[in-house]
Symmetry: D3
Subunit: 311 residues, 6 copies
């Protein structure tokens, strides 16, 4: 990993996800933390999320909910965190890009523990370099499609727009977005060949959107899933930068994910968790569970050898 290695803080400084660190040869999955926390406008604190997610993950049982696979057999390689450049978002995003590119070149299926949503710019840039017809599936209460926010171009309110501007992304699909501004709504309309928005409010997104989303992503060669935890209702995910009421519930999210994820899914990021507002750590516990479930769906899709918990 040459240069990439320079930007990763040594593993022994962090407890591994789930409490063990599986050798790369035995698992397709790599965990990498990205404690970016640099452009928040309201609250801040999501740099502490990778540690918090890992911490809660060690109390999680390893039989998956969606398909009863025993994750213990397969597990995750956990590389630790990418070292952020304090106060310098451009450098930080560049480091993210280098590390993710290196991991994708090595054929890893990646789970990113954010960090603020802006990190998706760096990682998607790497993703778009590696794969043809790259697509981005965004679960977010917001669209993050502003052109500029408080005078800067790279931040959590503009990140998806920057990706559309700067990469060859084929399709950006938003699921569960509900809090939008006029500026974003106009821009999305204008870009409606590239951007699909499944706007919903309330606890359940009708499952019949699945077919339309599948159609949207039918020409994608590779899919990047970005989960801004504020897509979920604050009852279930209170510990985020901007809690937006009337979100989906986690059951609905898992149902949708289990029908959309297939072998084209290479990167998943989970962003915007803010532990200092996450009383009783319920948001981090939920993030840990979501990662396990996505991994289980991928194991099924990838047809990896596995065992089941029988109940």
């Amino acid at each position: 990993m040459a240069e990439a290695g320079l930007y990763i803080s040594p593993l022994e400084d962090y407890s591994a996800f789930l409490g063990f660190n599986r050798d790369r040869k035995k698992t397709p999955f790599t965990i990498i933390g990205i404690p970016l926390d640099i452009s928040s406008s309201y609250r801040s604190g999501c740099s502490l999320a990778p540690q918090s997610i890992r911490n809660t993950s060690r109390s999680i049982e390893l039989c998956s909910f969606v398909n009863n696979i025993n994750l213990e057999d397969i597990g995750f390689e956990d590389l630790g965190n990418i070292i952020m450049a304090p106060g310098d978002i451009i450098t930080s995003l560049k480091r993210i890009e280098i590390v993710i590119e290196s991991l994708l070149n090595e054929g890893r299926r990646i789970f990113i523990l954010g960090g603020e949503h802006t990190l998706t710019y760096g990682s998607f840039k790497a993703f778009a370099k590696i794969f043809k017809n790259p697509c981005l599936l965004v679960f977010d209460a917001h669209l993050d499609l502003r052109d500029e926010y408080l005078g800067t171009k790279f931040n959590h309110a503009t990140v998806i727009r920057r990706i559309i501007d700067d990469t060859n992304v084929l399709k950006v699909i938003f699921i569960g977005s509900r809090a939008i501004s006029m500026e974003e709504s106009s821009y999305a309309l204008e870009k409606n060949d590239k951007v699909s928005i499944y706007r919903f409010w309330g606890s359940r997104i009708p499952i019949d959107i699945i077919d339309r989303v599948r159609e949207d992503i039918s020409r994608c060669d590779a899919i990047y899933i970005s989960i801004d935890m504020d897509v979920i209702d604050p009852a279930y995910a209170p510990g985020v930068q901007t809690p937006e009421p009337l979100g989906i519930d986690p059951q609905n999210l898992l149902q949708i994910l289990s029908r959309l994820i297939d072998t084209r899914t290479w990167v998943t990021d989970i962003v915007e968790i803010t532990p200092v507002y996450d009383h009783s750590e319920t948001t981090s516990f939920l993030a840990s569970r979501i990662i396990i479930e996505i991994a289980s769906i991928l194991i099924e899709s990838l047809n990896i050898e596995k065992s089941y918990c029988k109940i």
Copy 2:
């Protein structure tokens, strides 16, 4: 506003709702904070709610959920807070009455940021002076129909009874009440010409109650909506004086509101939020969203010129 003006703390001491203060000529809506916090028996702290609701409102996007209206065009006049008389509920209620009466005389559609539920006495008294056949729609886990509580007549446990006693209210309709006492149940039965109770527990009130409520309010000339946030399940609204389990979810509340609100709705109060128990401010975020949605429904009903966010 002559005398009323004396009781309002100067606007520049408070950040306006949504972060901007629209001129009265351009919007029918007036925000007024009422930090009453004087008669609580269990916890206290709801005097800090107006500030907390305004604070969270500044992170809210302005396209409404229920009908996609762009609120930025219309906005709200925010007058700041009514100054409470410390330890003197009678004087405080009188000031509330004077200010609300003055605003209604000026034809404003009012949103009150409470404060404890007792404030509804003062504002409804003004309301009942201005309008013929005034009605009160109460969303509350409780009935607040006790005759006396710990030896006093004016407090959060007696407020609706006092309104029935002291005003010419035509109809009081409770929606979502679930935690009641024998005393209240007996009283309500006795007054069943005037009082309707739609008691429910659990997340969803069947929408078919709407027709019955519509019938109940058919003879009302003007409607006052009082939302005690404890009507909502504590999962979604933990920051209240008395969290009562098994409440409705916010989606259900918005659905009901969107079918009941019409041009007869003049005042809405949102009461009992207690910020010090509102971890991650989710209750205040929800209150901000509810206000925006009610305003949007009113804009539609009142046929005000507007623009839409198109998604």
Copy 3:
């Protein structure tokens, strides 16, 4: 109560459940707190739960949700707490057994305010001595069926296995379990004559499991219900030792309980509440409500004289 009395801390040190202490002759129900908090592996703090549940219970209205019974007529005898032996789980469990046996001998219907789940071992042992064909209905996100955990045999992760090993329990039925390990899944399979698991994730368990559970318990002479609050989704019950996402909602839990409880139900315990993580006390409020509702269902089943709140 002879020896049993020695282990109970004098009543006047604790506020009674609901704020009043009904004489034993007027109510079949006895409340007993068990502040066991000795074997936690992740967090701790559930020794403070009995006090917290009692505290919140005093703000609860006394008309039941499920059947509108006025609980004030009947009420609860509240004996206070069993004194735990610090650092000595064996002695603590023995004291629990002695007290519960004594109460059952006196024909009391018991509600236990936990305390960690391990206490169920002591109380079920007593239960299994008194009743023939005793059964255990467990509501828990977990199975607690490990043989050993961190080198010990008696703790919250092994408690149900120990009960199966050490008592003549006829049937153990798990409802709502979702987070399991391979070890537990294998053991349960092996013991499938004795153990039934209704595994579910998500907010609603289909009510049609009721018939199957009824069949499972058809040969039981007496039923012990153990409610580990983590069976409920952390949105509704954040204040527990190990919040496990994707749990059932409280409405669903009450619906299931109201169809399963009958005169064979003698003991109910509510365990694992951890007040220091229970922001706004919503978990304790919910526990108080669950106890009132179970008591109301029992009043109906036992055909005790009662009055109704009429609404």
Copy 4:
């Protein structure tokens, strides 16, 4: 206690101070809680303080710091709390007056667990009726000498002025006051025959003020000590309504108290503790300790039979 008894909530609803309730014949000391919380302007929540002080007191060891007396022999009678009239400060103050007068008539040495500072009005009124030449020693960061505050006469900012206006208090002495307004400073100057102010900021008040204070109180027949916990630095007492920096430390407070208290001291109140802001309960722990130490000083002064812890 006739009428007084009507206003006291039954004892069994509260855990006694120190965890035991000594018979009146064996101890001169009576504890009474006054959960007044009605006129706060900034924060609120001090109605929960009596419960919090009692709760922490049960973890306190019973050998006094100042003179090594074993408090266990003597202990306290704990009557529980006076029931406040929600939202009605005049009625609440009247109840306080009636109860305190009754207790003083019975010759009790009283410790009041507040509640907001305004309660001192009610209790001092009783005190001034019973004793000739009554004096008031106030430990407070503030003077509470405003004539009116936000339009009312009875609140935490005016309480001492009201006492000077409405009672025959001989002398009011402030110790440790530091945060004053021009209005108060002018008023105090005007009343300098009656009012002495020992203004200080910083951790230690020089002990040589003692002689001057002694001179000030030389003609007093009975002394009432009112301790607003904000006199102490917020490092030691964070859980108060208005934390004022640069306060005295608790060691200094105890030193001063131990030199000023004598047999003329009949009532001590400890006010303004706000548990929801009292993280780790350190302010309540400190209040418990202060009460024990004052009692020990009184035991010495009153020459009561006692035993000592010998170390």
Copy 5:
């Protein structure tokens, strides 16, 4: 203020310091908030500090501690906050520089409400442009003299070194620094013509350092005071990014300030307060008090017309 004005968020969005906004002609003092929060490595959240300081300031009494001046006569102009560029520290620092330069050109005495310590770079750059022989007095537990930190040049750990590198600062004096690294200690030694360090740990810095500091600053034409709140012991100032034990107490800080401040003092910044860790807001209360006291010392030095609180 031309360009500077562009970067200031409109005043009506913020409550003014002390609750009133004095006209510029009547006061030499200008308050400006700088919510910079971009380069934190451990915790974050200091963007919320300006709002928190203003909020607590409204409960502060206006007679100063150090010299009894009535601040109400003079007060402060409060311009609101400088708008930070999310994720872009260079642009943010430039805006700070422009605004501070503009204010100094207008002859204002400035109080900056931080924000992270890095902001001092922007404001000192402006300061060093305006004044000859500019000096910097730093109160900080740390030296912030690293050359680079996690790969970037501008952050809270390097800010003072950057100032030494990039400006014509005549002298940098550290008071109360205690937590230093070898790298910083070596650098400071090397620069000992320019840098003086008064390293201390424990609650009181001996006042006799004053003469040495006075000597150090004797050739300075203008003095900038930067107060990193972590210089104070965490008992008094818990709400900071990096609480460092064994700090000075606030009394000592005020004593030192009152002997060092004279008419050469033009800018004071108060940085690193992190409200989400500032339980009971004690750190913000202390910051408000420090500002009032520094203003009072300046009023005395500047010989401005004033009145005194007489006690």
Copy 6:
């Protein structure tokens, strides 16, 4: 370490103290965490302390306060935590004994990160096996000399008595104890050949006790220092099980330690930190600093090669 190794959780699960793990050959110091949390009677939660202390230690600068030694050169070996047996204090204490004995046999200077105070029994037993004339220096607000507590023999209230009973300890010296019971005071008096108590309350213990303590320990061949963090005033160390007011300040503690520690000091434990009550982590920060300072004093005493930070 044979058997000892079995009880230690693998290092890579924990971030090392100070963020790096020095090879045993280069440092005499070994860190070992003991998350015992089993016998608490009031609060619980100190099992999370080892992680919290390590976490804060990574933000600490490495030049010592007391003697300016650069700790980076020497550092610490950090072995991780001893695995506790849930609910089984006897087994847990045995594991502690085995591990500590093994480390002492290997000549390590040990720092224990507790855990509740009871752990000192296990580690001192090992200590007393290895060394002749072993002595115990206890810094604690309490004496922990009860014979039994709530019916058990091994808990935080009896631990020092058990050590006196069960080991050949030569001398037990208490420093800073202030909260004692009659039972303890009598016992201590009886054992006054073996037990010395330097009882104090208030912020500073006069340094002249040093000579008397030195005399007390003159015949000791090896010294074990046990620091119950509640010895320190709760202003500085709020995050403990039982905050006891009127404690010493950290400056005083370091002064005393720096005069008492010499080459006979082999083990130091720091116990009773309870992170969930440790707002802003100030207690853990302080513990980290205390460890660094004790190590620095030992480096000086042991005459190890070292470098100094020069300021």
